[in-house]
């Protein structure tokens, strides 16, 4: 579904290639100049880079361990994070006051503005951890300045077990966003190889591969993914499950890439400049790497970017249904699985809307970004 979006029209402009300073501008400079004109895509690029940075430094950014339960704070509401206190800069959260509603037998929390809990940056971590898996660290980005028992810092609220939603979403980004990248990498290898073979050799090989791709695309993806994902034994270690799920979601993703590559191969193969290179005595391998690859690499980057969101959505959907990633892995889909119960959502809407916002923002930005890249992919199209 990634090949149908396109950017708002005001941004699609062509470059004036005949101007003086453009005369010596190569493909990547033109690409960048054209991309830069899409303000939304440019903003999305910033958002995406930021989100991936958050995912990479999740352990540093998340104030709490994503799997540490605290039964005192079941369904604690978002405390938010206020920066100003009495007119001066003092980051703080308000303490939560818990009361027991005797009618519904539920705990109810109220925010108490009279008891601000000061928040500091670079506080000592509750436990030492390894940043990016290998840098030993003892510091967290932020946390309560003087944590006392009974204090809490749930800026986006807590779940049924009193786990911090913010920390869980930040840690979930690690899995959910990386599945998109790894899946796209697998798709890239499959797509470029198979699409390249299809486009370069043509003939019956091409026909067979194209029929196969059509077949894969005509099967509804969700039941197919469900069928494969459900076969993963629950006893498998998380890493292996993660990898197999990635494979399953890239099972479909590669087809659009293969089509793109094949289409480019086919149209470029008959371009006069490729024929000219052949007549110059260049070998087929040389033609592929000197002429074909430079011509479609920008298109591939765009298609890849547009493929990431569908991978993220696929993982989310499978985990949500309970046949993808399983706890204790934390992913956005796993978080949403806990929001499956509409009663729980009615009581604690943040269970649903926090991870949902993270998903929508990342997918939206990736779509905008991919779209801008695609529009800029061929900076020469306006030249005649």
């Amino acid at each position: 579904m990634t090949d149908i979006t396109s950017l708002p029209p005001e941004t699609t402009t062509t470059l004036d290639l005949h101007s003086r300073d453009m005369a010596v501008a190569g493909q990547w400079r033109l690409f960048w100049l054209k991309f830069k004109k899409h303000k939304i895509a440019l903003a999305s690029l910033v958002v995406i880079v930021f989100m991936y940075l958050v995912a990479a430094f999740a352990d540093f950014i998340a104030p709490l361990d994503p799997n540490t339960a605290n039964s005192r704070f079941t369904y604690a509401p978002p405390q938010g994070l206020s920066l100003m206190l009495n007119g001066s800069f003092q980051p703080h959260v308000n303490q939560l006051k818990m009361t027991l509603n005797t009618e519904s037998m539920r705990r109810e929390f109220t925010s108490d503005p009279t008891k601000p809990l000061p928040v500091s940056f670079f506080v000592p971590a509750p436990q030492p951890y390894y940043l990016l898996g290998f840098i030993p660290m003892q510091t967290k980005l932020f946390g309560l300045t003087n944590p006392k028992p009974g204090d809490s810092i749930y800026i986006f609220g807590a779940d049924r077990l009193g786990r911090d939603i913010f920390s869980r979403v930040v840690h979930g980004a690690k899995v959910s966003l990386s599945i998109g990248l790894v899946g796209v990498f697998v798709s890239l290898i499959l797509g470029v190889t198979i699409g390249g073979i299809s486009g370069f050799f043509g003939g019956w090989i091409d026909t067979v591969i194209q029929r196969f791709i059509e077949l894969l695309r005509s099967i509804p993806t969700i039941p197919l993914w469900m069928g494969f994902a459900a076969a993963i034994p629950t006893s498998w270690p998380p890493l292996r499950t993660y990898f197999v799920i990635t494979l399953i979601v890239s099972l479909i993703g590669w087809t659009s890439l293969a089509r793109e590559v094949r289409g480019k191969f086919l149209s470029l193969r008959n371009e006069d400049f490729v024929t000219a290179a052949r007549l110059d005595g260049m070998s087929e391998i040389g033609i592929i790497f000197h002429h074909l690859v430079p011509s479609f690499i920008s298109h591939i980057i765009a298609t890849l970017t547009l493929a990431i969101p569908s991978m993220i959505l696929a993982e989310t959907a499978l985990s949500f249904l309970g046949i993808g990633l399983q706890p204790p892995i934390v992913s956005w889909g796993v978080l949403l699985q806990e929001a499956q119960n509409i009663r729980a959502v009615a009581q604690a809407p943040w269970l649903l809307f926090t991870p949902a916002t993270a998903i929508v923002i990342s997918v939206l930005s990736l779509n905008f970004l991919g779209d801008g890249l695609r529009d800029a992919a061929d900076p020469y199209e306006s030249v005649s």
Partner: protein, 562 residues
């Protein structure tokens, strides 16, 4: 008094502008002319001269964001009433009543100008419904009559067919039938024959002339082809960058042009009407010189079953230019590509004489031999855009064959600079990309690449057809200069007889994959032996209004389809 009555359309100081990011682009800048009953006014100019926008402004169908900024377009009807079309609301009722009913229009691309999913009968009958509310069955009768008028065979079946089932010429006839439906008093024809072959063009021009006489229409004919102008115009308007350069009777424009631009335009056309001086002065190649290239019985059938090249035999002698002329679909491009084994012909021989005198059959040559041959036999492509990789600098493009041949460092740099100078490009431009160059300059880059390895034979496929006429002779002169300097031979493929006559020593005429005639250029042009050649030659519009001839041309009938 009579003059007043004869003038149907009077355009005064018309100005049409296109707002752009950087300001206002004046596409039509103060154009005035009159259209008279039964007369043809040709508007002529090169690409970007504003001739097409002028035509569209009359009916207010200029593409957005263009708009008419000033001037008037006065339409005088038979009853003496007049309307200023330029003052009407572009989407309003009044201008719509004029469109198609009083002023009809035909366009350049008959394929894309007709809807592919509606039957042609529906499309032709539509104007009748819009303007007269004619009921369906009467519409059909009238459409059949129109199809007969434009000489479409089997109107009863043709009426229910779709555009893609017709050839280019037939589609243009459909367009004309559509324009005639409401008996308009003015016909605007916007390059109606540009996309057609010369023989088809001649037929369409004939048809328009005939219908004009029968209906007494005024015709506004837009074209870039001076030959067509000379054949059909009564009056001519020469445009350049939105302005009228000169306006007058056709004889004046051709034989006593007042304006410098018109002069140049006529000159560049007339130059191509005879053999180049460079070639007239050159001594003939001695009889009996051993051929450089000897093609025998070459055949290529595409998987679709189309016999693109059918038993073709020809020879090229050292230092000679052999022209290959033919219309679209004649197989001339395919044949040229076979010579370099871009396509693999199934039968025949392509014997090529190596510098050591040894003969090699290109058709069966192995990979190593082919690589050697391809450095001696080179190609110049038709499309100056597609044949240069947009991602490489000009220096890289020209250096590519040299690098593959093993040249590097200073030697390579110097050679590229030499080559650029040789084809008339500044060596300082080597860091620039192709997008910074004009069409003519790009073609020079292509030539530099072709001559980089000091080849002996160059196959030039329609090397000048993408260029405006004023650039064409320059390019041909350059190619002849290089021929003399480097001792080259050319196989020069073209659909344009004048280009062939200008530079080729001998010419082969191709028709449906076969060579129907081959001989010295002068002989083929002046005394064609084959009927097809005669038909082809007589269909070519001649840029001399004193010598109109396509209406009395020779017609070749070999199961023609168009």
């Amino acid at each position: 008094m009579t003059i007043m009555k004869d003038t149907i359309l009077e355009v005064r100081e018309l100005r049409t502008v296109f707002p752009t990011r950087t300001g206002i682009f004046k596409a039509v800048d103060g154009v005035s002319f009159e259209l008279k009953r039964g007369k043809t006014l040709c508007v002529v100019g090169e690409s970007g001269s504003g001739k097409s926008v002028t035509a569209r402004s009359i009916l207010q169908i200029v593409d957005r964001p263009g708009r008419i900024e000033g001037g008037s377009v006065l339409l005088t009807r038979a009853d003496g009433s007049t309307t200023d079309l330029a003052k009407l609301e572009p989407r309003g009722r009044e201008i719509r009543d004029v469109r198609g009913k009083e002023i009809a229009m035909i366009f350049q691309e008959p394929m894309s100008s007709l809807s592919p999913v509606h039957r042609i009968g529906t499309q032709i009958g539509e104007s009748l419904r819009i303007h007269f509310g004619t009921p369906k069955h009467e519409q059909r009768e009238r459409v059949l009559e129109l199809l007969r008028q434009v000489e479409i065979p089997h109107p009863e079946t043709a009426i229910d067919r779709y555009t893609f089932e017709f050839s280019g010429g037939m589609r243009q006839r459909v367009m004309i039938a559509m324009a005639l439906a409401c008996n308009p008093s003015v016909l605007i024809a916007d390059e109606p024959t540009t996309a057609l072959d010369v023989t088809t063009q001649a037929e369409i021009l004939d048809l328009i002339k005939k219908l004009q006489q029968n209906h007494g229409m005024a015709v506004l004919f837009i074209t870039h082809d001076m030959g067509v102008v000379a054949e059909i115009a009564d009056e001519v308007l020469v445009m350049y960058r939105g302005k009228v350069m000169e306006r007058g009777p056709v004889e004046q424009i051709f034989h006593a042009p007042q304006d410098a631009y018109t002069h140049r335009l006529i000159d560049s056309v007339v130059r191509l009407e005879k053999k180049a001086e460079l070639r007239l002065a050159r001594p003939a190649i001695p009889e009996g010189t051993a051929p450089l290239l000897d093609v025998r019985n070459l055949s290529l059938t595409f998987p679709s079953g189309l016999k693109a090249v059918d038993d073709v035999s020809l020879t090229v002698r050292p230092g000679e230019t052999l022209g290959i002329v033919g219309e679209s679909g004649s197989g001339k491009t395919t044949m040229g590509r076979c010579l370099l084994r871009i396509y693999d012909p199934q039968a025949g021989t392509i014997d090529y004489r190596r510098p050591d005198g040894h003969m090699v059959d290109i058709r069966t040559a192995d990979k190593a031999a082919l690589k050697k041959i391809r450095s001696e036999v080179r190609m110049i492509f038709q499309d100056p855009v597609g044949s240069l990789s947009p991602r490489k600098t000009v220096g890289q493009i020209i250096a590519e064959p040299l690098k593959i041949a093993g040249m590097k460092g200073r030697e390579l740099n110097d050679r590229v600079a030499d080559l650029m100078q040789q084809v008339g490009l500044e060596p300082a431009w080597r860091e620039r990309y192709p997008h910074a160059f004009s069409g003519g300059q790009r073609q020079r880059i292509g030539i530099a690449r072709a001559i980089a390895l000091k080849p002996r034979l160059i196959v030039a496929d329609e090397a000048t057809s993408a260029l405006d006429v004023s650039l064409r002779s320059q390019m041909l002169d350059l190619m002849m200069k290089l021929q003399d300097e480097l001792g080259l031979s050319y196989v020069f493929i073209s659909h344009d007889m004048s280009v062939i006559r200008y530079m080729c020593d001998r010419v082969a005429v191709m028709y449906r994959g076969k060579i129907v005639e081959v001989g010295e250029t002068d002989q083929v042009v002046n005394e064609p032996a084959h009927d097809y050649t005669r038909a082809l030659l007589s269909a070519i519009p001649h840029p001399d209004p004193h010598n109109r001839r396509i209406h009395n041309r020779f017609r070749y009938k070999a199961g023609r389809t168009a």
